[in-house]
């Protein structure tokens, strides 16, 4: 009987701990979001979206970093998505059992979690150092390098899920392979592939490290991609570490905007795949 009690007690402790761990994990999410809302919401006003970043001590908004972030994200997606989809297509459709595919899959998985600051250094070496100045293009390319592995991964995974009977049916009515891929396989896997792109956007819109020494920062309104371009994460970094209170307040507001944009994107992405699998 004593043994039975010990076992039961041990089980209760362990299960209590596992409930506790879950509460602990969820608590951080709630805490972080609550603090963001509390600190960032008060600063949220129309001026944030219509005015430039201010010099310390005066009022202003976050218009130029928001635009810079949108612009660089758009270019990064425009470069990274086609590349990622094509590579994923090769791995799932043409060379599913190739040696090349196995190697690329392995390397891609490593790039997926490679430190983003190293990607910043890489782009600095091949673009900024060559051109002699920081530029929005370098920032966009650095972000594109982060987009590619995410899109490759989801595209490959989603195309592999497309049943082979669909491919065989398309082939049997005489569709050439490339048309079969574009008209049949892509359509069947569309929801998943869109999810991949959304996840990639979510990932890069919060990235700071690769922009620090590629796009740098710009206090003024500038959409010239050959010059330094401001971005929301880098401005948050700069303002949060500054001693000025109004800059810090703007940093919190920017943090609130980014977080909710990113969370909205990830939830949308999940909803898309969730409906498909259900």
């Amino acid at each position: 009987m004593a043994l039975y009690d010990t076992r039961r007690r041990r089980n209760n402790i362990a299960m209590g701990l596992s409930v506790g761990a879950t509460v602990f994990g969820l608590a951080w999410l709630v805490l972080i979001l609550a603090v963001l809302l509390w600190k960032g919401f008060s600063g949220l006003s129309l001026a944030v979206f219509t005015q430039m970043t201010p010099p310390p001590g005066s009022d202003g908004g976050l218009l130029n970093p928001i635009m810079g972030s949108l612009l660089m994200t758009a270019i990064a997606v425009a470069i990274g998505t086609p590349l990622g989809i094509l590579a994923g297509t090769y791995m799932a459709e043409y060379g599913r059992y190739d040696k090349l595919t196995i190697v690329v899959r392995f390397i891609n998985d490593i790039l997926l979690s490679a430190p983003s600051i190293v990607i910043g250094l890489f782009i600095y070496e091949i673009m900024v150092a060559k051109m002699g100045h920081f530029s929005g293009w370098a920032g966009a390319v650095a972000l594109a390098v982060i987009v590619v592995p995410v899109v490759v991964r989801t595209t490959e995974d989603m195309l592999i899920l497309v049943p082979d009977t669909l491919r065989e049916a398309a082939a049997s009515i005489g569709l050439p392979r490339s048309l079969m891929i574009r008209r049949v396989a892509y359509r069947a896997a569309r929801a998943g592939m869109v999810t991949g792109v959304l996840l990639a956007v979510a990932r890069i819109s919060g990235e700071t490290a690769p922009l620090l020494f590629t796009a740098l920062n710009n206090q003024f309104w500038s959409l010239n991609l050959n010059a330094p371009v401001a971005s929301l994460p880098v401005v948050i970094f700069q303002f949060a570490l500054s001693p000025y209170e109004d800059w810090q307040r703007l940093a919190w507001t920017g943090a609130l905007i980014i977080t909710f944009a990113v969370l909205a994107l990830s939830i949308t992405a999940r909803a898309l795949t969730g409906r498909k699998s259900a």
Binding site: T22, L29, V104, S178, L241
Partner: protein, 339 residues
């Protein structure tokens, strides 16, 4: 299909006679166009797949080239020297490497048990309808950008630690021989411990979601057999589920470790950026990524820049090994499940 004069069987069968020559020529043209587009598409996709390899080799080569000056100047001592003095241009990576390793160890010590316990909760205890929402909520932690962890850590978490947690730690371990050095010094708030704790929160979702996925892949028969023998939930998790999923769990842990080693922004905010190796984890320190993020744009002189890039190379090297090991383990697991 190359020769339009030939009469395909299908034409004869379907139309009961010859198809006009013009129609056949047209068809041959269409087929040729399709063939060309087919081949082009195949090569485009192949080229894109090769671009992935080019990116990786580009990263390695450019980092080696950028760090050549520093590495040839200091040689092996770069790795073991802990001085970092931009004025005298004397650089060594030891302090940064030490900080990177220590913060990651603290993060894993917390994230691994907590992550595994959450995975047990999600697969064994949680009611079905709550599993998906809780799983998503935990995964959303991974979606929050690291700069948010940084700003939150600096303004909310560090002051909290400084006021309530660190003084208690210092007082408690004051008289314990070894631990008193580990928790020595004034409570700064920011420092190695704070960075490690924030990393733990960031890594938690990775450990949790991979452990949950591999736990779910355990054949129900095994668990049912154990329950049938009268085992408790804890015993099933500990002696059936965990041994069965060992490789996958370790792979997930390594994946999280890879993240923790390379994490930049969150750490940069709270580590304190002090280039020294301190016995106390309450003291400010630095990590490889934090050093690069803080100093790169302000680095003057080729040797300084090159030393920072050399730090990046070391970081990439370490994470590459950890991530490659993680992937190999997860691949082995997939092969076993699939085969």
């Amino acid at each position: 299909m190359d020769d339009p004069r030939r009469n395909p069987v299908a034409d004869v069968a379907l139309q009961g006679g010859m198809v006009a020559r013009g129609a056949r020529v047209k068809r041959a043209k269409v087929l040729r166009k399709l063939q060309v587009s087919d081949i082009t598409y195949r090569w485009m996709t192949r080229a894109a797949a090769i671009v992935v390899l080019v990116i990786l080799s580009g990263i390695i080569l450019s980092l080696i080239r950028g760090s050549w000056l520093a590495l040839s100047n200091y040689g092996f001592t770069f790795l073991v020297d802990d001085t970092w003095n931009p004025v005298t241009e004397k650089f060594g990576a030891a302090a940064a490497i030490y900080g990177t390793v220590v913060t990651s160890i603290i993060a894993m010590l917390i994230a691994v048990p907590v992550g595994l316990l959450i995975a047990v909760f999600l697969t064994e205890l949680c009611p079905m309808w709550l599993r998906r929402p809780i799983g998503i909520a935990i995964e959303l932690l991974a979606g929050i950008p690291s700069i948010i962890y940084g700003i939150w850590g600096l303004f909310v978490f560090a002051p909290f630690l400084q006021q309530y947690v660190q003084p208690v730690l210092i007082d408690t371990f004051d008289s314990v021989p070894w631990l008193s050095t580990l928790f020595a010094g004034p409570p700064y708030g920011i420092g190695t411990l704070t960075a490690g704790l924030i990393l733990a929160i960031m890594v938690l979702p990775f450990v949790t979601s991979i452990s949950r996925d591999v736990f779910e892949a355990v054949p129900p028969v095994l668990k049912e057999a154990a329950y049938g023998l009268g085992a408790t939930t804890w015993e099933v998790s500990r002696y059936v589920v965990l041994p069965y999923t060992r490789i996958g769990v370790i792979g997930g842990i390594m994946l999280g470790l890879g993240r923790a080693l390379g994490e930049t922004m969150a750490v940069t905010f709270v580590i304190g950026n002090a280039h020294r190796i301190s016995g106390s984890i309450l003291a400010p320190g630095t990590t490889i990524s934090a050093t690069i993020a803080n100093e790169f744009t302000e680095a003057v002189g080729d040797l300084y820049t090159s030393s920072l890039i050399a730090l990046g190379l070391i970081l990439f090297f370490i994470t590459f090994i950890v991530l490659a090991a993680a992937r190999l383990m997860l691949m082995r697991l997939n092969a076993r499940v699939g085969g």
